[in-house]
Assembly symmetry: C2
Homo-oligomer: 285 residues x 2
């Protein structure tokens, strides 16, 4: 499982560089907004979503360069959601990855605007990409909007806030996590297919795999949070509280195996994708 | 100036109907978000931006139906910006057009999410439009992102917040208003050109006209606010405070005449556009 590590690290480095260079362009807009956005992005993170886009794209025969702007747009969307999620009226988190969250470092108003800025810029980056055809840009834009919007991530955040303080069933928790986490991961995978010029059947399959993997990823997040006694995001209810630690691992493993079975049936060279899928679930951080 | 009133009213009605029908679709997402978005849109307003898009599109030979989804996307963007602008950490407005603002009617968290939802949905509506070509959708998406993003409206909002409590020069106030108001109005006009299949030269000219008209529109807003003793948005400084009422009117009139001279040189049947331009400036509400 470690043989493909250098290939993944190269993809992370490529993404990091492009995330910063896109934000350095004057055409990226007003300098104070770019500076605040850079602060948010400098916090690190796994770059899971853009790397998934690049890995899927490569598995299906695409070059990194073709998919890079779209992958960065995906990461901008993810980062905007973290900035807005941390706001006092939302999860009220003063820290993000060991540093003050954006509204603590700057102000609440700057955090609202920087989130809006990154969300908007994501769609501009796709529209301006020099490597995608017009139809690929339209598909990418639609994929990003659906994964992150009212049928996807934002719906999950709204469900999560509504559920606060309530006793949830496993089905209800599944619904929240599928929307809040899995829809954007599914979009990241579908985006890789769009950039590689995959058929709509393959793109649908990538989306389905992304939902399975995103779901498993979130369950593992809950288990790791529980092990570290961290406060879970969702008002105190998480998979461990409902299923226990062992059964949560079992559920994540089952989703991983389902996704690996689907990955094996994809066209192309899917070894690196299968490797990444395992890493998403078999992890300790 | 009243001869074209029925044509404009028909356009407003067409926009109203489509704004609501797009939000009624299940594919528009999670019902509570759609309901909150509908509350925001039900507040009325002039529908200036989408009507400008339709009027420009018609002047250049386009059918309303072709530009309607793009026009609605423009109005969703405008409405998201009002929702986020009203938040306690921003302008802290409890009322919007005589009704409780969205965060008072629902909650701050719902207001943040509904704004994010409408912003994201705008780009989805463009990507899914059945009447535009792929290249038109890409151009429309870019136009919307630039007009509303870090080089446009969001930059203006950030400048506005930074300027609070400071003494501004006319040049500084111009810069805020050009970004905060005029860039989106310029994008609305350019969008009409994109939908009508105009050349890039005509689209650039439409953008320039939109900046002039948007600027004039904002000056008139300040004068009308001053006449009604309303609290101006920008920390107490507005054109009337800097220039006086008469000179503000003169400045707005000068911008209108510049824009009318440019409109007269556009191809197509621009009578309705010239009429609308005059209405934007010669108004009492």
């Amino acid at each position: 499982m470690t043989t493909l590590e250098p290939a993944l690290q190269t993809k992370i480095d490529t993404v990091e560089k492009r995330l910063q260079s896109l934000l350095s362009m004057d055409t990226a807009g007003y300098a104070p907004l770019r500076e605040a956005a850079r602060y948010a992005l400098d916090g690190g993170g796994k770059r899971l979503r853009p790397v998934l886009t690049l890995v899927v794209n490569e598995a299906l025969g695409g070059q990194d360069e073709t998919a890079l702007d779209a992958a960065c747009a995906m990461e901008y969307i993810h980062n905007y959601s973290l900035i807005h999620d941390d706001l006092p009226c939302m999860d009220d988190d003063d820290f993000r990855r060991g540093r003050p969250s954006l509204h603590k470092q700057y102000s609440e108003s700057v955090a609202v605007l920087t989130g809006d800025y990154l969300l908007t810029y994501a769609f501009e980056v796709i529209a301006q990409s020099a490597t995608l055809s017009a139809q690929q840009k339209v598909d990418a834009s639609r994929c990003l909007a659906q994964g992150s919007g009212g049928v996807g991530m934002i719906a999950g955040q709204a469900m999560d806030l509504e559920a606060e303080g309530q006793d949830l069933s496993v089905a209800q928790l599944d619904a929240i996590h599928l929307h809040k986490t899995a829809c954007l991961i599914a979009a990241a995978m579908e985006l890789g297919g769009i950039c590689a010029g995959a058929s709509s059947e393959v793109r649908q399959e990538l989306h389905a795999i992304g939902l399975l993997l995103g779901h498993a990823f979130q369950i593992v997040d809950d288990v790791l949070d529980d092990e570290q006694d961290a406060q879970p995001d969702n008002g105190g209810v998480n998979y461990v509280a409902l299923l226990g630690r062992d059964e949560s691992w079992t559920a994540a493993e089952k989703l991983l195996q389902e996704s690996l079975a689907k990955i094996a049936k994809l066209p192309g060279n899917t070894a690196i994708l299968a490797d990444l899928a395992e890493r998403l679930v078999h992890r300790t951080v």
